[in-house]
């Protein structure tokens, strides 16, 4: 076997190109497998550890106001392990010459273990004495280039408050600092968390002896749903705004969804590569056995057993599997560390130790071996049937056959003879052509998905910021205000138009299905904050009844004209039954819409608003108006469309980089498959090609025979691959949509064209690398030999 093995190595050396291209695909598969899975493991372990160590709450309760003593009452609820009470309030601040929002959270004056604890990254906890000390969240601190000991001046209830930064912290509660779930990307310059002393918070927010937020940890193994219900009942009289668990909390939800996606990617993505590698191995080894049947016959005649000959050939695929998974595991381990760090740039989990998970190497080895050996066996099992005597006799030439297309006279008559050779050859080796097109199908599908991502994002941005949120500035108030009070905003110079908006949280339910969602009341014919249906047609706001998003309708299992129960968190407001008047599209957040008149009649509070949207006469005065707005009392945040758009666009840059990676992957897939199959094709048909050369066809004409076959397979692959890509993209988009955002899947016509062009370029590159093989075909050498 030793000498046979040497023979095998020489075979490999003779067709280096093919061996290397299969190897690359296997290496990529293993690399992705190990990298993605170890990034998944690292991230989920660190987040679990982080949550555990710093006591992330299981339940958050938001309420209007409750006395501090409520803490003891909550702790006495069955299955509540511990609870921490605090004040949480948003306020605005002018920083780095921009307007930003700070979420104030109170902490005990003296450090003790609490639910949703903080990690001090630099500086220290509050000291005794000075009331106006604050701790800032690290992301905001760094993004705004602040220093310890510096003073900041947020505006609380219209008053500038002077606060000294004493520490820089991180909390498991805000691993991902998003203001609310309607935002997709964190903008650390514009939103941050600030921690102040409980006593100071009570003073500046007018909360003497009270709080408005409770963080609860529940006993291990108890049911969150039940505890939530009990908590809600117990706090009924304090105006509960919302009771959410980890699955609903913005930061932990984002992280668990992101990690979940990583896990499913780690399962599916490498399998594509393994499948493609198996296909190539299957075809290639099948041909190898076919072409070496004389050698196989001789080996058998000498006295080697079937098993010995089989294992000789199968060791080719075993070598690929072993070398591939060895190199892939090394690469993947390094890439896994890189990926973990990359992902963590955006999560900021405390990654004390990025571990190398050896346990992924073994499954990777096994998985590759199974794929390669299975492919190898399927193609080599014909060895058993080869009879030594027969194999040494000349094999009868394979017959060309008339094919269906020939019946269509008009096509066939106008096909050149070279064309006829190509088409008949494709039909003769149908199986091979179809398997080859698998490579093209996957490749063009990946390409289309990658390229169409920006189509979808552009479409969403266009719809969201061009049609739906057609305002320049949105102002949020710290309390509900009467819309008459909005006149002083309307009177600011350059404010052309103003519409009040009331946004609040509600629990919407249909039978046992329920969901905490936003509730938005708009004016009768809104010009700046509109709602649309799926086709982009404006929907008028109903006088009574509500509009809900498609996703919410699916979650609740309701349709138009069904009734749902809506529970407001305004004290004393009971559940109301409301009729669904229409389904709207909603890309960001999960909300319901109604008219202000309707809400007024339900709440009986008069025409009130929690925010207002503005249009300016000239967008150049945006900053001037923003400055004036944030000095006004009761204004907590001022955000302009430009800000949110810029934040979104900057994240698109990162997305575009990943598109590049996908394009390269698609290219490698396609080139490796086509190159391999064409190399086999050239080897098997060298006699035919040499004959054509002798007959007086030049290299350009001869190469057409192989190249055009590749183009035909490419076109055929694209016919299936592009629609498959569209389906895959829609599936991926739908499965990555969350309560926070739903991105519609859109593929523009030009994207198809680009995908087609790039795929053809890949094929052209493959052909270019094959050119050498055709040019160097030695007529004399080939024709001298008998087949």
């Amino acid at each position: 076997m030793n000498i046979l093995f040497r023979n095998l190595l020489r075979d490999i050396k003779k067709s280096k190109g093919q061996f290397i291209s299969i190897l690359i695909i296997v290496i990529l598969g293993v690399t992705f497998y190990t990298a993605i899975n170890s990034a998944f493991k690292n991230l989920s372990n660190s987040s679990d550890k982080y949550y555990e160590e710093y006591r992330l709450a299981d339940i958050w309760v938001d309420l209007y106001k409750a006395p501090i003593g409520i803490q003891e009452k909550v702790k006495s609820i069955p299955n509540v392990e511990t609870a921490t009470v605090r004040i949480v309030n948003d306020a605005s601040i002018s920083i780095s010459e921009e307007n930003a929002t700070l979420r104030f959270i109170t902490l005990p004056d003296v450090k003790r273990d609490i639910v949703n604890d903080i990690v001090i990254k630099s500086g220290r906890y509050f000291s005794e004495g000075d009331t106006n000390q604050c701790l800032l969240d690290e992301d905001f601190f760094k993004a705004n280039e602040l220093n310890l000991g510096e003073y900041i001046y947020p505006i609380i209830n219209g008053n500038k408050v002077k606060l000294k930064i004493v520490g820089c912290v991180k909390s498991p509660e805000f691993v991902y600092t998003l203001k609310d779930s309607s935002e997709i990307m964190a903008d650390n310059k514009k939103f941050g968390i600030i921690y102040i002393k409980q006593s100071f918070g009570e003073a500046i927010f007018d909360f003497n002896g009270s709080i408005n937020n409770i963080s609860i940890q529940i006993a291990k193994g108890s049911d969150v749903k039940n505890v939530k219900d009990d908590v809600e009942k117990a706090l009924k009289n304090y105006g509960v705004k919302s009771v959410i668990d980890r699955e609903e909390q913005t930061s932990s939800k984002m992280i668990s969804e992101e990690i979940k996606q990583l896990k499913s990617m780690g399962g599916t993505f490498p399998v594509i590569f393994f499948m493609v590698a198996s296909v190539i191995i299957y075809i290639m080894m099948g041909r190898m056995v076919e072409n070496q049947r004389t050698q196989i016959g001789v080996l058998k005649a000498i006295g080697f057993t079937n098993m010995q000959v089989l294992s000789y050939y199968m060791s080719y695929s075993a070598i690929i599997a072993l070398v591939g998974s060895f190199l892939g595991s090394i690469l993947g381990t390094y890439m896994g560390v890189g990926m973990t760090k990359l992902y963590n740039k955006y999560f900021n989990l405390p990654l004390a130790d990025i571990k190398i998970y050896g346990e992924f190497v073994i499954p990777a080895f096994i998985l590759t071996l199974i794929f390669c050996l299975f492919a190898g066996y399927s193609s080599c099992k014909s060895i058993f049937k080869i009879m030594p005597s027969e194999s040494m006799r000349q094999k009868s030439p394979e017959s060309g056959r008339k094919i269906i297309i020939e019946k269509i006279d008009i096509i066939w008559r106008n096909t050149s003879y070279l064309g006829k050779i190509i088409i008949r050859n494709l039909f003769r080796y149908k199986k091979r052509a179809i398997l080859t097109s698998f490579g093209v199908i996957f490749s063009s599908a990946i390409l289309l998905v990658a390229l169409s991502m920006s189509d979808s994002m552009n479409f969403m941005i266009d719809q969201q910021y061009g049609n739906i949120q057609n305002y320049d500035i949105k102002v949020k108030f710290s309390k509900l205000i009467n819309i008459d009070e909005l006149n002083n905003i309307k009177n600011i110079t350059h404010v052309k138009d103003l519409e009040p908006v009331l946004e609040t949280g509600v629990e919407i339910s249909n039978g046992w299905k329920n969901k905490n969602v936003g509730f938005t009341a708009l004016v009768k014919d809104p010009k700046m904050y509109k709602v649309e249906d799926k086709n982009g047609n404006e929907i008028s706001i109903p006088k009574n009844g509500i509009l809900i998003s498609e996703k919410l309708a699916n979650t609740l299992g309701v349709k138009v004209n069904d009734s749902v129960n809506i529970k407001f968190y305004f004290p004393g407001k009971e559940k109301k039954e409301m009729v669904i008047k229409g389904i709207v599209v909603q890309y960001l957040g999960l909300s319901t819409y109604t008219s202000m008149d309707n809400l007024n009649s339900i709440l009986g509070e008069g025409m009130i608003a929690s925010s207002a949207v503005l249009k300016l006469d000239n967008i150049n005065f945006e900053n001037e108006v923003k400055d004036k707005l944030k000095d006004m009392p009761a204004v907590t945040s001022v955000e302009s469309k430009t800000d949110s758009l810029n934040a979104l666009l900057s994240t698109m840059g990162a997305m575009k980089a990943s598109v590049g990676v996908y394009i390269i992957l698609a290219g490698i897939l396609l080139i490796a498959v086509l190159y391999n199959i064409a190399a086999i094709n050239i080897f098997e048909r060298q006699r035919e090609l040499a004959t054509l050369k002798v007959l007086g066809f030049n290299n350009n004409e001869v190469k057409k025979l192989i190249f055009n076959e590749n183009y035909i397979i490419t076109v055929f692959g694209m016919i299936i691959g592009l629609p498959f890509g569209k389906w895959l993209g829609a599936y991926l988009m739908a499965s990555s949509s969350t309560d926070a955002y739903t991105i519609p899947y859109v593929v523009e016509f030009k994207t198809y064209i680009i995908a087609i062009i790039i795929t053809l370029i890949f094929t052209a590159i493959t052909n270019l690398t094959l050119m050498k093989k055709i040019k160097s075909l030695d007529m004399i050498e080939v024709l001298k030999n008998k087949e």
Binding site: G400, R428, L695, G696, L783, E787
Partner: protein
């Protein structure tokens, strides 16, 4: 006296195999006249195929020159050699080398498309006796029939030279004789210059000119005033 159509002058072909230089032909020289039926005779390895390849424009000599119709083809570029093969040369191989994916007629038509003054392919098919097998694929034809298609394919472009490398080498005795008869008749009827390479000395009897080669050089050359038709030759 007629001008020679092919002049082979001091042609030496060296191959390098590893560190050793092997001479496939060594200062080989001969001339062929228009319309002659030439048999190049020699044992295997004597260099007879090498010289045919050079006349056919498939290879270049290391030293020496080959003139065809007075033009020195040894100086031709790759492209010029391709054009030369396309326009002037008809090849017939020992193993036929037909396109397996084309029918008999299509194999002929494929080559016809390369020529400026081709012959009618149906006529040629009739001439080689295959009018009723035109739409068969090579795998459906016998060896002799395949070789007839190969001859038809070589003739259809109306070449200046018809070069045949062991045309009967893969055929049985009777079929081989029929193929030789076909070549003999073509030469007699169309006055086309035909060069046949063989190791079978009996075939020499049907040639106008017999060139005997051994160890890469011309051993002897003889003119045969009364060539015998192949049906009268036995071996």
């Amino acid at each position: 006296m007629k001008d020679p159509i092919v002049v082979v002058k001091d042609v030496t072909k060296e191959y390098t195999m590893g560190d050793i230089k092997v001479k496939a032909s060594d200062k080989m020289s001969f001339e062929i006249l228009q319309g002659e039926f030439v048999v190049v005779l020699g044992p295997s390895g004597s260099g007879k195929s090498t010289v045919l390849n050079m006349i056919g424009g498939m290879d270049r000599p290391t030293y020496g020159e080959v003139f065809v119709e007075g033009k020195n083809i040894t100086n031709y570029s790759d492209n010029e050699l391709t054009m030369y093969r396309r326009k002037k040369i008809g090849f017939v191989f020992q193993f036929y080398n037909l396109m397996s994916n084309l029918t008999a007629l299509e194999n002929v038509e494929l080559v016809k498309s390369l020529s400026d003054n081709p012959l009618n392919s149906e006529d040629i098919m009739r001439e080689v006796g295959l009018s009723d097998r035109t739409s068969n694929f090579p795998a459906q034809l016998s060896g002799g029939e395949q070789q007839r298609v190969a001859i038809a394919r070589a003739l259809v472009k109306n070449p200046l030279l018809l070069l045949c490398d062991e045309p009967t080498g893969a055929l049985d005795y009777n079929t081989g004789r029929l193929i030789l008869k076909l070549l003999y008749d073509i030469n007699k009827n169309t006055n086309k210059t035909i060069i046949v390479i063989t190791h079978n000395a009996a075939i020499a009897a049907m040639a106008n000119r017999v060139i005997r080669v051994r160890s890469g050089a011309v051993e002897s050359m003889s003119i045969n005033e009364n060539p015998k038709p192949p049906e009268r030759i036995e071996w």
